[in-house]
């Protein structure tokens, strides 16, 4: 059994490498998100991949959604998508199915299926990092008791001040219902009922006057730093950057973090699929993911890599306590139900906008 497995894997390796050796493309086009994130990717595995295979990595700007893939104008070879979009693209036939044996075992031999976080493996690809929407607060605003639970967002009497929230239903509905003591596992079941949504919006109503809406993630950090708000929702990587790298007095509440997976897929239009999968294998190796985590505070989607996370490469800060995937942070973490959002997006937005409009009347 074991031997056959190994033989099979070897065969896949040969298949993956052979075309690269025979007709290796000069370069691969990887669609990704730019900024500090792309920089971390380049240092962690774009450059090492080129060094190992001689294949250059060119990047293309991607800003989410499945439409760019549908148009297929850019001839991308690999695309870095959120899990919700990845699943939608996969279901729509915009991504190629992932061949067996693409993924590498962990250094200790743990097979991928057990090493990756639950929900990481799909028919069309694999998740590589976890990023998280969290609440951060301004330490200067709460010199006494500091907020430490999601519910404190909805208690302006205890924790006064404005709150900066992203202007979309994502994460705040989960937090609103969670504040009633609903267990994490039951959140989406309850949010699926009229009663659950009503309760969630009732909570939001309680802090309507205190909310400052943001759309650009950078805005969340700016509002906190400039003391326009005392609490804000945002992406954990940016809060980390502000607090640790730039030394701002912010702190993240990890309770109720809403984490999402970011996944690799190969678009149907790619004509260098073999090299593309070879890249996916390289980029999702334990050491690649662990190395990326020394540049940015997004958690590796492999347990073996999460355990190896060391210090921030520039500041020397230990990264482990800042990762969404650290054991202690996962206790009450909410895994964003990508499927649920994918299927309910239109109705949720409609309801959310109606609630927004009701307040401005």
């Amino acid at each position: 059994m074991n031997r056959r497995c190994r033989a099979g894997r070897l065969l896949v390796m040969v298949l993956l490498c052979a075309p690269a050796a025979v007709a290796a493309p000069d370069s691969l086009t990887v669609a990704t998100w730019g900024g500090a994130y792309e920089a971390s990717q380049r240092k962690a595995y774009f450059a090492p991949f080129t060094a190992a295979t001689g294949i250059d990595i060119e990047t293309a700007g991607y800003r989410g959604g499945v439409e760019p893939l549908a148009r297929n104008a850019d001839r991308w070879d690999v695309v870095d998508m959120t899990m919700a979009d990845h699943r939608r693209a996969c279901a729509g036939g915009l991504l190629q199915p992932m061949p067996d044996g693409v993924l590498a075992d962990a250094p200790d031999g743990t097979p991928p299926r057990q090493d990756f976080l639950p929900g990481s493996l799909t028919r069309c690809g694999v998740a590589h990092i976890v990023f998280s929407t969290v609440i951060a607060f301004d330490k200067r605003a709460f010199p006494g008791a500091r907020p430490y639970r999601v519910g404190h967002l909805f208690e302006p009497d205890l924790y006064p001040g404005k709150r900066a929230l992203q202007q979309r239903p994502d994460a705040i509905l989960e937090w609103a219902l969670r504040s009633y003591g609903v267990p994490v596992a039951d959140l989406y079941g309850l949010l699926s009922t009229e009663r659950g949504l009503r309760l969630a919006f009732r909570r939001l109503e309680q802090i309507r006057e205190q909310i400052v809406w943001w759309r650009d993630p950078a805005e969340a950090v700016r509002l906190l730093v400039e003391q326009e708000v005392t609490m804000a929702s945002g992406y954990n990587g940016r809060f980390f950057d502000a607090a640790v790298v730039r030394g701002q007095p912010l702190e993240i509440i990890w309770d109720g973090q809403v984490y999402e997976l970011e996944a690799w897929g190969v678009p149907s239009g790619s004509d260098a699929a073999a090299a593309a999968w070879q890249f996916v294998r390289f980029a999702t190796r334990t050491e690649s993911l662990a190395r990326q985590a020394t540049w940015i505070a997004y958690g590796p989607a492999r347990r073996s890599a999460a355990r190896q996370v060391a210090e921030h490469a520039a500041t020397g800060v230990a990264m482990q306590p800042h990762m969404p995937t650290t054991e202690a942070h996962l206790e009450t973490a909410i895994r964003k139900d990508a499927d649920w959002y994918a299927r309910t997006r239109g109705r949720l937005d409609e309801r959310f906008n109606a609630w927004l409009a009701a307040g401005t009347r």
Binding site: Y180, G181, A185, D186, L190, T193, W340, T344, R347
Partner: protein
């Protein structure tokens, strides 16, 4: 090994038998516990999967919200599920009578410990379809029965005393199923003893504990399942607040009685509906689906309703009352019209709604109650459920293990105790006992009566008695009786038919006072005469009012006399039975 010289061999032998006994206990507990836990888990997650797949669960309904046919599916799925259940019951379930906890209790109480595997599996399949397609029935009854089926099989194929081991195996299966479903091992152990075995012996306790722990370990460690209902809030209860919990207990008992009566009323109503049995569940399913279009909360097990009931302000009073009535009616409809499932989960939902209703009615009078909705709802849940299943101690333990909250558990204790006091007086120990009573199995008489009921008198029938013939002279019979040192004679016709009994006293009196010459008109027909297939229990009740010290025993049909049973023999049989029950219950 031997350290004590002469007695070494004895010690080693005894040690060996102790080790073997312990190994058997562990093997039974581990085997039954593991299998029952896996079966229970597969059952529970099978239901969840079907609910997601068939647009029953709120999440799947929300995700299909854009789909034009969702309303049609809401009616069609329970109806189609009902039809399938009707067919399964008709063609697969033995005697077309789905089994449940009542049958498990009967098997354990009668002491034979047989839970037929065919009936068990067919019932589980029908229950899976019922629950999967959204019927408003419970999942724990089928789970308990499934566990018991597995346990009974283990006992039957073991060496030694198969009947006793089957009963213990049943306890193990039940305990493991409950421990797995609720992540509550202690409640599993107590449930098996309180509801099924109804006695405590170390011999049963040890393997049941092993099985229950195994169920817990498999659920939490191996499969990493979340408990089905968890309360995270820290709850504190003030002294005066215990008063309303008494009220919830009493009110909960009345709700429970209404629930149990409705289920039975629906059953008899269904029997009067002139359509084939096969389509009755489908009819109930269609009605349920139509109600669900307007009140989706009535579908299925109602996990979301339970959760909402402990959130302050999730429901208005009118909404709670409406949903309470609707859930009760739909459950009665589904169970009465042939969906297969239990009463535990609907009782939880109905009780929670009742508790929340009390809290919301008290709210305007006592503002503090507003924050206590969770406590009220959980007390209501426990009060109604414990009355329905007749398990106060297990219910308290389930609450304790799920919440790990001492204050809440003490509040629940008060409600549960008062609920059981009231429902026991007004209705009976439980729904299961009521079902068994309808089958002439009265558990309130005690286990000894059931065991005696199962023991035939045949081994105790004696052919050693004095026969009197028609036309025999009185003096002659008197002399023969004195000769045989007997107190009575049986008058028998030439064809062997029993004609009556003549006691010595009566014989002498008739000779002296009335001057009777022959025995013919002295005999009195003993109406307490038994058939030869009668049970000891029947013999004992007959012996209370028979003539003389011997009870005549007749053939299965006709009046042919086959022997007599001596009252003293019956007393001995009774004592022996009691002794065997006691030794089973006190065995280690």
């Amino acid at each position: 090994m031997s350290t004590v010289g002469d007695s070494g061999a004895v010690t080693a032998g005894r040690l060996w038998s102790v080790v073997r006994g312990a190994a058997a206990v562990i093997a039974l507990g581990l085997g039954v516990g593991t299998l029952a836990a896996l079966a229970a888990d597969a059952f529970v997650y099978g239901i969840l999967w079907l609910n997601d797949w068939l647009w029953i669960s709120p999440r799947s309904r929300m995700m299909a919200g854009d789909w034009a046919w969702l309303a049609a599916a809401t009616v069609a799925v329970p109806a189609a599920g009902g039809l399938l259940v009707g067919l399964l019951t008709r063609y697969l379930v033995p005697d077309r009578e789905p089994q449940g906890p009542a049958d498990v209790i009967e098997a354990a109480q009668r002491g034979h410990g047989r839970v037929p595997p065919k009936g068990g599996l067919a019932t589980a399949a029908a229950a899976l379809v019922s629950l999967g397609s959204g019927a408003s029935v419970g999942q724990y009854g089928p789970l308990v029965h499934l566990g018991a089926t597995i346990g009974s099989l283990f006992g039957r194929f073991s060496r030694g005393a198969p009947e006793t081991l089957s009963c213990i195996g049943i306890g193990c299966g039940v305990a493991a199923a409950i421990a797995t479903a609720f992540n509550a091992p202690i409640a599993g152990i107590l449930f098996a003893h309180e509801v099924v075995l109804r006695h405590y012996s170390l011999r049963a306790f040890a393997p049941i504990t092993v099985a229950s722990t195994m169920g817990y370990v498999i659920a939490t460690v191996v499969l990493e399942r979340e408990p089905l209902f968890r309360v995270e809030d820290a709850i504190t209860v003030a002294a005066w607040e215990y008063l309303p919990f008494i009220g919830i207990g009493v009110g909960g008992a009345l709700v429970a009685i209404a629930f149990m009566r409705s289920v039975i009323a629906a059953e008899s109503a269904a029997a009067r509906v002139p359509v084939p049995e096969v389509v009755k569940p489908a009819m109930a399913g269609a009605v349920l689906g139509m109600v669900a279009l307007w009140l989706p909360d009535v579908l299925g097990i109602g996990k979301e309703v339970l959760r909402f009931s402990i959130i302050p302000g999730a429901f208005g009073s009118a909404e709670l009352a409406l949903l309470l009535v609707a859930k009760l009616a739909m459950t009665a409809l589904c169970l009465g019209f042939g969906f297969v499932g239990g009463v535990f989960s609907p009782a939880l939902v109905i009780g929670a709604l009742f508790g929340a209703l009390v809290a919301s009615l008290l709210g305007p009078v006592l503002p503090e109650v507003g924050n206590l909705v969770a406590v009220f709802a959980i007390c209501g849940m426990a009060a109604v459920t414990s009355s329905v299943i007749g398990a106060p101690i297990s219910t308290i333990l389930i609450v304790f293990e799920l919440t790990r909250n001492y204050d809440l558990t003490t509040a629940v204790m008060i409600s549960v105790v008062f609920a059981n006091l009231v429902s026991y007086r007004l209705y009976g120990r439980s729904m299961f006992d009521k079902v068994l009573q309808a089958r002439d199995v009265d558990l309130s008489l005690g286990r000894d009566q059931l065991v005696l009921d199962r023991m035939p008198i045949a081994p105790y029938v004696s052919e050693d008695y004095v026969v009197a013939r028609r036309g025999e002279r009185c003096e002659e019979l008197r002399d023969r009786l004195l000769e045989a040192d007997a107190g009575e004679a049986q008058l028998v016709a030439p064809n062997g038919d029993y004609l009556g009994t003549i006691t010595l006293g009566r014989l002498l009196r008739k000779m002296e006072r009335d001057g009777q010459r022959t025995v013919d008109r002295i005999a009195v027909y003993d109406r307490a005469a038994l058939r030869e297939n009668a049970s000891i229990r029947k013999a004992l009740t007959r012996a209370e009012r028979n003539i003389g010290a011997l009870v005549p025993v007749l053939a299965r049909e006709g009046r042919r006399l086959v022997g007599v049973v001596d009252q003293s023999t019956l007393v001995r049989a009774y004592r022996e039975t009691l002794h065997s029950i006691r030794s089973e219950e006190h065995a280690a």
